[in-house]
Symmetry: C2
Subunit: 161 residues, 2 copies
């Protein structure tokens, strides 16, 4: 059908991901959250409404605890998050969204939905669902294919629900 050759998989993934992140970030900016950087959105993508430990946040966002801690520090200082002792473990702290943070969280989740809906409209819902399902299966199959294991875990991802 397509006489035009398609880009290699790396380009396709990279450009789509960048487009997604820019879109999401742009919405945050337009919503008035000018003090948020792109990396901060990952925190909102990983956190629970009731609070989440730093280690857990880092794992969900695929990054190291110190890296996540820096993002949390900034969001705390900007009034989006608060740290409070975890009652079930004296070492741990629960990182919870403040009222301001919950507003961002709600808007971010809605924004992701909107973007995904836009994709579904662009190529058709079935094809978009198939895209997501195939990517998920690729990731699930990956450990067997070849493991990198060069680092504990490397990578940065985006807003999850």
């Amino acid at each position: 059908m397509n006489t035009r050759r398609r880009l290699p998989i790396g380009q396709l993934l990279g450009r789509t991901l960048r487009s997604f992140r820019e879109d999401l970030y742009r919405r945050a900016q337009e919503a008035g959250y000018r003090d948020l950087r792109e990396a901060h959105l990952q925190v909102f993508g990983a956190i629970d409404w009731t609070g989440t430990r730093l280690t857990e946040l880092a794992a969900r966002a695929n990054m190291t605890p110190p890296s996540m801690a820096e993002l949390v520090d900034e969001l705390q200082q900007a009034g989006y998050l608060e740290r409070r002792p975890d009652p079930s473990d004296g070492r741990a702290k629960l990182i919870r969204p403040t009222r301001k943070g919950r507003r961002v969280l709600a808007q971010a989740l809605r924004a992701v939905e909107e973007i995904e809906r836009g994709y579904a409209e662009a190529v058709g819902p079935e094809r978009f669902d198939a895209l997501a399902a195939t990517l998920q299966d690729l990731l699930d199959a990956r450990p067997r294919g070849f493991k990198a294991e060069r680092r504990r875990s490397t990578g940065s991802d985006d807003l999850q629900a």
Copy 2:
């Protein structure tokens, strides 16, 4: 079919892309190219066998000319590339792979094919082809959906053919 909830699109794209890049980079390392960094692979993904201008390289790899120039500088010093005046334009220089660079180029193209074949085996060739086609269509549809246009162009991608 899948009772497990799928990850949001950003995570799916991000993790898959990272996995792809790590895989490609690991192969380069194992092939003995220890002086190559991950970013260098983009150059080989953008260059033509007969030589390509810096501006063109930068555009194909979705980056600014100074950024690409730095990568080219390093690859030139490592003996993978050479710069020679472009006969058709006194300002421009053609960046060409040396014999050593052509070996890397060939291996890199083969590696990408292998990786893509691995994906096709993991989820089935039809689903993999559909994945690529859908991503391509999403990118083609994007300019209308919403343009970012915040920068000239931002982003980093991977090996193309």
